[in-house]
Symmetry: C3
Subunit: 426 residues, 3 copies
């Protein structure tokens, strides 16, 4: 075995021993692992890829005995993808699956193994143990209950999308009034309600706010009079007006709440929602080339005390984001999001981050998963890319020793997240 | 030899044995191969690179004895490029050329060899045999004769650029009336004429339509009344009006014709025509960064039954295109176009495609050539990149075995094209 | 050692022997090297990275005894970066530093070594000798003295930014009148003044003009009447008007002056000035994704006789720039600017340039340095990347021999610059 591969393997062994923090997921705290194989195969990566490869959408409405074989038959056409590899790796590592393909002919024992495992005590803890993941951030709607969350395993996080983009919906306003205890009349009451939500989250152990933004989103400081006028218009349901003013105003106030509560704000930049009309559920959004992050600068500049953890969805912004991490003190680079979450995009981006951004400002990875089982193959994919890049782009060119590389890996997988989100303060 | 290179070589051996389909070229069916060395050296890659490196354009107007030495002298300054390598490889493989540079001192025997080979019987078939290419798509103007095309070797394809962008030119309208047998009066007659053209192509063995589009082109569904108004304005030559409405309307109707005839539509996205004022012929167009593909979404969404084979010209859209292939059922990723057709761009893009797009939706490569001789070095360049990426980014990281890799290569070089363009239905 | 690494090492040995030309720096001719360690650590890369990693800005106002340890303490958090590596390499090579980190505990002997070296005779020449750099271009303000510049070591270059963007400032106009001897009244006098400046520079050994431009800058030919009107408005300080007209007009006239004096024009494209409000000095500018270079085409097309040496700041434009170098005769690709000046960005870009741009149109590298000491580690970083790319992407795939690779390296590091800037004509 050539030297590079040996070095890579040694680094991977060290990296596999690091207990990771997963700063962004969609795991439901009260239903965190799969009860059935369908819970795993229903992950949008499989339904969207199978549909993309020609499977009819109606398959997804069928009962397991029809749906699973039909989906697996279509999945033969995606067995080249890393996503297919995730399923095999978790099936092997978590459920003892031994074949090298999952087919209409061999899924039933796996389905039984998933059902059986789900009934084991401490299942969530076991999965995280096998995955060597210490904590998993959740993504909680503002109006979702935060009671009875096991905060030894999970860290709640306020998802701000609805608050910023959906206040024109009466149901959202109604829920906001209920959760905050504030009657929404105008701009001031809206700010009070938002503050109450953030404090409520903080009190229940939340350690970040998070939002996904469309490509080229412009965040700017809104004058009070403008904000109050648009808030009143929207809160009274009178329609019209300039939605951007309200959106920016709410976003800025949420950042102010983050400042007051010392909460980092995770910004996930660049998703075009509902771009593909015929997609499966959760399989309709796309990235867009041709946009800059500079629309966010007024927000980043206005809150130097708030740490913004940025992710992008478009490869054309990876270097721009790197430059932000390089000079902007309150910007942290976080993970490799969604369409960029494949080694072909992770590795060059990772090499650039390692060469030009302070090592304390890199949150290596998050899973974005909906069920805990996916943490294992996703983090392992990243761990292998990290070992490869540290070996070939860091140790071999002489930027540091193997020990240095291991130290960087510990920061990226665990220590930076612990420090930035203050996970050791309880 | 290290393991990676051995693996790469084994895969390359397998790949070289795959009989490829070339889904896009500009080969003239009745003059498909070079009659002279000038026919080869006149390829715009050589004239534009030599001109770029300082050669005066007037050289191109001289007779062979002056033009060829002057061009070759300038080509010393481009001997680092892959394009220069194409010329050497085809000279060596197809004409027995034995030097490692083509110079003013050694071109004459090669010129003689080209002339001599041109007079051999079955020359086209021989070239394709040596290149291991089974079928070559043509790019046919709507008003070009399709008679006497050897459809064992060639597949006609309707080039739609003129129909979409040039209807304001009287000559184009006149030709369209002649070919379609429809008198152009308004929107309905225009649609009839377009339908007649597509059916005429289909009847003559055409298996696709193809168009190149400017960066950021917006395709949107046009209301009938708007289309009819703009069509009438343009067809009567009254000028003015909104050219975009007519362009989108024609493009949508052509897609409708593709739907009716089950023809895939090849969209080649992002060329700025006539950008460089002083370029040699065919050497004046450029890519442009800073644009998204999302302007095409209305078209992709409107015709879910039409397969759109997309190519881009701007590296900043490679990842965006990958995401389209990943979730949009009717999008196929096709080749590596023009300025992206060099290994430095092909290989990272290919790695990403292999990791995230269904293997049945990848058309690996097309030559874009004007003479058959270039199929050999262009496809061989791609085959080497494919072997390299399959070895290092697919087999080595464990996404599949060597056999799996060979299967993927067969899909990408041949089988996907055969299925998508229905080349086995005759 | 595997073959690739041996080949890379052989090429690196050859490359290290090439006496390089540095076509862009900010070295002050009369204070070219560091007098103190602070002169080195004060380079914005260290202050901005340390600040980005959490250091307070006020540290920079403290005396050495406080500032240096505080900065070095913050720099522990950036020891993963290539910039940190530059400091270690120059400390080792130029000042005999022997530790593998520079810390609050070991900086004092280095500081002493810097002070001591500064007092040696021929210090500038010695540094350049150890760096194997033959000539260093300066970047001179139009109103700066050019007397007593040692033109054996330095090549003056006119920085045009102020002339294009700051004529609305009375001080700039006053200085322009003084330097040119022309009284500024309207468009014609402004052109006369600009011409006088360029001739003055040419007479003092300047061999280029240079300007940095914001992303998406549009340069277009301005009608005389428009130019005269805007010039008068600006020169008389009456305000209002369309600043873009004046900017484009001045830029075009400077290009005309370049044409008349056969001066290449270095265009550095894509910097957003003052983007980050809280940055340290020189640490507030950023790149922006989402823009094209096509706004420059009118300028490139208007002056086919002027060589434009282009650099970009945004990775999304690297391929677009490559295409310009490929077909546009008067475009030369120059270096890897600022945020792109790390191996992770240099190497893929370099591979693409080598595969598709005439070798005579590639200026490999410039340092952009403020003190001569940084030429050594910056050029060495590039030399290592060049050796790596030539080995793995040029020699190994068979595009050329080791000798060919060495020849390309000589062009890129020295000979192209000598020819393009006519450095051998004196």
């Amino acid at each position: 075995m050539p030297t590079s591969q040996q070095l890579e393997q040694r680094l991977l062994d060290l990296i596999m021993d690091i207990n990771a923090v997963d700063v962004h997921s969609h795991v439901p705290a009260h239903e965190p692992f799969a009860r059935s194989l369908r819970d795993l195969l229903g992950y949008h990566y499989y339904t969207e890829l199978a549909h993309s490869a020609g499977m009819g959408k109606s398959v997804l409405d069928e009962p397991d005995e029809q749906m699973i074989p039909a989906l697996l038959e279509a999945m033969e056409r995606i067995d080249n993808t890393v996503q297919y590899g995730w399923m095999l790796e978790l099936a092997r590592e978590l459920f003892g699956f031994e074949h090298d393909r999952l087919t209409p002919g061999n899924w039933e024992p796996l389905a039984e193994a998933v059902r059986h495992a789900a009934s084991e005590p401490n299942r969530a803890r076991d999965i995280l143990g096998q995955s060597n993941i210490g904590k998993v951030f959740l993504t909680n709607s503002f109006d979702e209950t935060l009671d009875d969350i096991d905060t030894e395993l999970y860290v709640p996080s306020l998802r701000a999308d609805t608050l910023v983009f959906d206040l024109h919906k009466p149901q959202v306003r109604e829920n906001l009034e209920r959760v905050s205890g504030v009657t929404l009349k105008g701009g001031e009451s809206l700010k009070d309600a938002l503050s109450a939500v953030v404090e409520h989250f903080w009190a229940h152990g939340a350690r970040s706010a998070a939002i996904s933004l469309p490509p080229g989103f412009r965040a700017y400081r809104v004058a009070d009079a403008d904000f109050n006028r648009e808030a009143e218009r929207t809160l009274t349901g009178s329609g019209g007006g300039d939605r951007q003013i309200l959106q920016s105003g709410v976003l800025f106030h949420l950042a102010e709440c983050c400042r007051q509560n010392a909460l980092p704000f995770q910004l996930m930049c660049g998703v075009v929602r509902d771009a593909y009309s015929h997609g499966v559920p959760q399989g309709t959004d796309l990235p867009a080339a041709g946009h800059s992050l500079r629309g966010l600068l007024p927000l980043l500049n206005a809150f130097p005390e708030v740490t913004f953890c940025l992710s992008v969805l478009n490869a054309g912004q990876m270097q721009e984001l790197g430059a932000y991490g390089w000079i902007v003190q309150n910007v942290v680079l976080s993970g490799h999001w969604w369409y960029l979450n494949i080694p072909a995009h992770i590795e060059p981006d990772l090499a650039a981050r390692l060469q030009s951004v302070p090592k304390t400002k890199l949150i290596g990875y998050y899973s974005d998963m909906y069920k805990l089982e996916f943490g294992l193959p996703k983090f392992n994919m990243y761990r292998r890319s990290l070992a490869r890049v540290l070996a070939r782009r860091f140790v071999e060119p002489g930027y540091g020793t193997e020990d240095d590389a291991a130290g960087v890996a510990r920061l990226m997988l665990r220590e930076n997240a612990v420090r930035i989100f203050r996970l050791d303060e309880e």
